[in-house]
Amino acid sequence: MEPPKGKVVSRQEKIKDILGDLGIAGETVSSTAARTIEELTHLGIVKGYSTVVAVGDESLVNRIITVLATEKTAKDVVLGIIPNDFESALAKIINVTDLKSACNALKYRKLESIDLCAIEPNKFFITEAVLENNRNYGIYFSKDNLQGKIEADRIVIRPGLEIFTHDRALEGNAPSRFYKWLFGKKQSDIYSSYLTAKKIRFEAENNAAIPIKVSSEIVAKTPLTIHSRSRVLKIIVGRDKMNQAS
């Protein structure tokens, strides 16, 4: 769990109550100055826990999955998640809509193996990473037998190493966009790109250091390499997730 402060304490108590009612018991730990999230996760693995439940935001979850994905002895450890924000991409991945459904998901323990991406050396993420600049920038990339250059201000990378880019500057300035909208001159989107890779390296033009953010937190800067690891982590998902997928 995240370090308790004010409102968080009452939320943690509420979660404990709901889990208690559902008959779920376990050790509850929070990070402190003396013990980081990574250390606490490592301790849980050493103690032989089969499930680690992360209660917090995506940043906390990413720190935990980085430990679970890199420690060999954590191969069979399952991750449960109780997100802070039930509108977030994280909540959508595990298909929970509120605190009760998140706790219920832990009870029914429906497992799904998911892909993760890692920004080398070892920054794993579960939803998406965004390579972002305040203006268009030339980004060189290389994957497999392919090198390329993208002019973009935003590149989104998702697990499975799906890469989305879009260059807003090529759509024209605001008046021309308004003109197109006003007269219904719809054009097909030729400025977006979608690529997949197993491993990709990004370098910015002029060796600039463009930040890559995961859940709004800068985790690295270009040049950087991202690789995909498929079905590397088992997570607990809501009961309806499979039905929705089919």
Partner: protein, 140 residues
């Protein structure tokens, strides 16, 4: 937000935007749509669409190939090849189902595999193409 939906595709595949330049081999088992510039080979098990803004310098190979942009290289379509009115192809093409629309530019050699035999038509002047009995060309 960018990436909320996959742009311009009905399923997994590759889309090369107009702002992208690629060098090397682009290979995908799914559809490939090219709006940008590629120098190298483009291979798909399904379809390749070269849109008006695209330029490919290198061989193109897929089941279905549609060219509305410019291709400077050979094209092999195991299914259908269509060159749209805005399309420009400079290179040899191989397809058993070929459509060249009015206004398209094609300079090169066309080969149409048909079963075990191949019907090969080289670009010739109209006088050279006058049909003669016992010609080398055989159409089934």
């Amino acid at each position: 937000m960018i990436g909320d939906k996959r742009p311009g595709t009905s399923g997994p595949g590759t889309v090369v935007g107009a702002n992208v330049k690629l060098v090397g081999t682009l290979q995908d088992a799914s559809d490939i749509i090219v709006h940008g510039r590629i120098e190298g080979e483009v291979i798909s098990s399904q379809s390749i669409t070269v849109t008006e803004t695209a330029y490919i310098k290198g061989p193109v190979s897929a089941e279905i190939v549609t060219v509305a942009g410019k291709v400077n290289g050979s094209i092999t379509a195991t299914g259908k090849l269509e060159i749209m009115p805005t399309g420009k192809v400079f290179g040899s093409i191989t397809s058993k189902d070929l459509a060249i629309r009015s206004g398209a530019i094609f300079i090169g050699k066309s080969t149409m595999p048909e079963g075990d035999k191949e019907l090969e038509i080289e670009e010739k002047t109209a006088s050279e193409e006058a049909p003669k009995k016992g010609s080398d060309y055989e159409v089934e």
